[in-house]
Subunit: 403 residues, 2 copies
């Protein structure tokens, strides 16, 4: 699928938080152009046209009829992914779809088939294994200098359950709750570092606030085919925060609300209705009053909780500016340039796939494997037993196809 083109034109579908946060990455890439956006929100379209001098459409169908668009970034709600991937694939557009790919393995399968049938790449992201510190951990593991990997742990305590949510984010059946929404990041990180092929899972998930009736915490044990063990622990109830263990740096860089205890829970408990809550969330999207200035350089790479990798000859965890490696003889830090970001890596993965013919790691099968772990985590908890996995895939080695 290598091409004689040297750059690709991307159109964004959906300008909520996910859509807005990908814009700077597209702009930053020298061979990718921010060419268009589609949303039914006229105000956002006007602002987008004005900010980026790019084309605007009301619907994904219209955007996909534009022959100048090579690839689309689908940042619409999860339940629309199957339909939107179908439209894009049939229009022969390469696809980045926001995670989670789907809520069911059947939907994931149909999207994988559609992309393959139409000869387009399907990349799922952004997810946290794209982040430079996780990529650098993998690079160190792959170098072999620390020996075999023994254990990989990711522990994340935060306020996820009490951030402003759309109703489906709080419904497990629609892919809501921390196990689907955040476990998918944890398993993505752990699978990238552990080789990809999880053999079995034993998990306990819990719904602990009846007013937000979806999984809010979990404890998950994974074992890979290759013998590597892992745990993923999550607690989204806004009590203890693991930022206390990660240099006060969170997922979006340095904490903005430090100093106010349980701010997220207080705010949500004071919100009157689901509509008011959605309004709060909408304001965090593109052009909204609570939107982040994504153009502003983050001072630190994000910490998706505390990740500790143990190898025979050393451990690795994140430092404020990169990684700390605890080797046999010395403990040292590895700096990671702040210009690298996870979302730039997403854009680079689609660029390399389309232009260089490099098969993407984070393709539909990779995302389906992450989804399978989420589904089995909830099932393992309900059945109170260990379960085995069926759709796991190894991490692909990136090979350029210079035709």
């Amino acid at each position: 699928m290598a091409s004689k083109k040297q750059s690709i034109n991307i159109g964004i579908v959906g300008l909520g938080i996910a859509g807005a946060s990908m814009i700077p990455a597209i702009i930053a890439h020298p061979h990718v152009n921010l060419a268009a956006a589609a949303t039914r929100n006229q105000e956002r379209l006007d602002k987008f046209a004005n900010d980026y001098h790019a084309k605007t459409y009301y619907t994904i169908d219209e955007l996909c009829r534009d022959p100048e668009i090579d690839a689309v970034y689908i940042a619409t709600p999860t339940e629309l992914h199957t339909e939107h991937v179908r439209i894009a694939a049939e229009a022969k557009k390469h696809i980045i779809v926001e995670k989670p790919l789907a809520v069911s393995l059947e939907d994931a399968e149909s999207m994988i088939e559609l992309a393959e049938k139409n000869g387009v790449h399907l990349i799922v992201g952004h997810s946290h294994s794209f982040e430079p510190p996780i990529q650098k951990m993998k690079e160190i593991i792959d170098s072999g200098k620390l020996g075999r990997v023994l254990m990989i742990h990711n522990w994340y305590y935060n306020d996820w359950i009490y951030r402003p949510r759309t109703p489906e984010e709080l419904k497990t059946d629609l892919g809501g709750g921390v196990t689907y929404r955040q476990g998918s990041h944890q398993f993505d990180i752990i699978r990238l570092l552990g080789g990809g092929e999880v053999r079995s899972i034993r998990a306990a998930t819990a719904i602990s606030d009846p007013e937000r009736p979806t999984e809010g915490n979990h404890s998950v044990f994974l074992e890979f085919e290759n013998g590597i063990a892992a745990t993923a622990v999550y607690n989204g109830y806004d009590h203890f925060h693991t930022t206390e263990l990660t240099f006060n740096i969170g997922e979006g860089g340095p904490l903005s609300n430090s100093g106010v205890y349980a701010q997220a829970r207080r705010t949500i408990k004071a919100t009157n209705s689901p509509q008011d809550e959605v309004a709060l969330k909408v304001e965090a999207g593109y052009g909204g009053s609570r939107s982040k200035n994504y153009q502003e350089a983050e001072k630190h790479h994000p910490f998706f909780g505390l990740t500790i990798v143990s190898c025979e000859k050393g451990d690795i965890r994140q430092s404020p500016d990169g990684l700390i490696v605890y080797g046999e003889e010395e403990k040292y830090t590895v700096q990671i340039p702040m210009e690298e970001t996870g979302r730039i890596n997403v854009i680079n993965e689609i660029y390399k796939a389309v232009i260089k013919g490099v098969k993407p790691i984070h393709d539909g099968r990779w995302a389906r494997a992450n989804l399978e772990v989420c589904i089995k985590a909830i099932q393992s908890s309900k059945e109170r037993k260990e379960l085995y996995l069926n759709y796991q895939v190894p991490v692909k080695e990136p090979v350029e196809n210079n035709i």
Copy 2:
């Protein structure tokens, strides 16, 4: 088993690190007397007689023939416990035996039976659930103010594998390695906080340094009958240390070797023979040149790694001076007096059992349940599957029997 006596006389058997470290606790208790010690090391006996004006014996048999002794603290190597418990029980002495009680469930069973047949208390300790911060966590859980417990996690990374060891401590069959020796503390903490009755376990243990061929790290998932989930993660290979996450405070209070990376591994790798290594360890026992001054007050309670308890309405972890409680409305600290220690709690448990008729929590059945978790952790790893437990017991409520 309540008595008209108001105090008890204790004799110590074995004056290694364990024996020496119990002395200050015995001395500190107002109703317990340090009455005697037994060891074959004449130098230690002389020093002991001189330091404490107490009686000395060469053997446990001689000590147990002393009618003034009410209870013995058996701090001999694990493989001698069965024989020493038999001697003490048949002499009708109450017993504290250093953990681990035994290496096999059969040996544990025989000791439990011997104690019961002879009408003496059998307490196993010191183990870390005796420590005041863990006891205080239990008190907060039992108060119900944080609601139901959801998850309990204990994660400990340190240099255990490279501290000076006797040969049996590095032989799994003899109860060596981190899963038997240190997992027993983790499971003891987790079981005390979770209610005691573990339903199932899934674990991965590993032997990662062929020069120290016993378990050096593990990842363990536990689920209790009551649905509480837990993980215990341990890495003893002297790379990353969890003291970095626990205010630089370790198991023995503040770190003494901070600043020197991988000091334990360097020292051991430079030691020529197992004999030299044992000599290093002996020097840390009673009267040795490397022995700690146990009389000196510790500035902090010990951190056995990072323990985080999540309840419906809050999380708990240790602070330098007690606990941090992350509640619904506020985060606050709970001070714990430094005069309280885990070993004083051990001595108090035997005192209350003998004088007040309070059934001890940490009895033979409790210790057998901890041992069962250790054994099943290693078995689960070998068989790569979840296993169910058969010898678990609930945490006893302390009730005074005022006859």
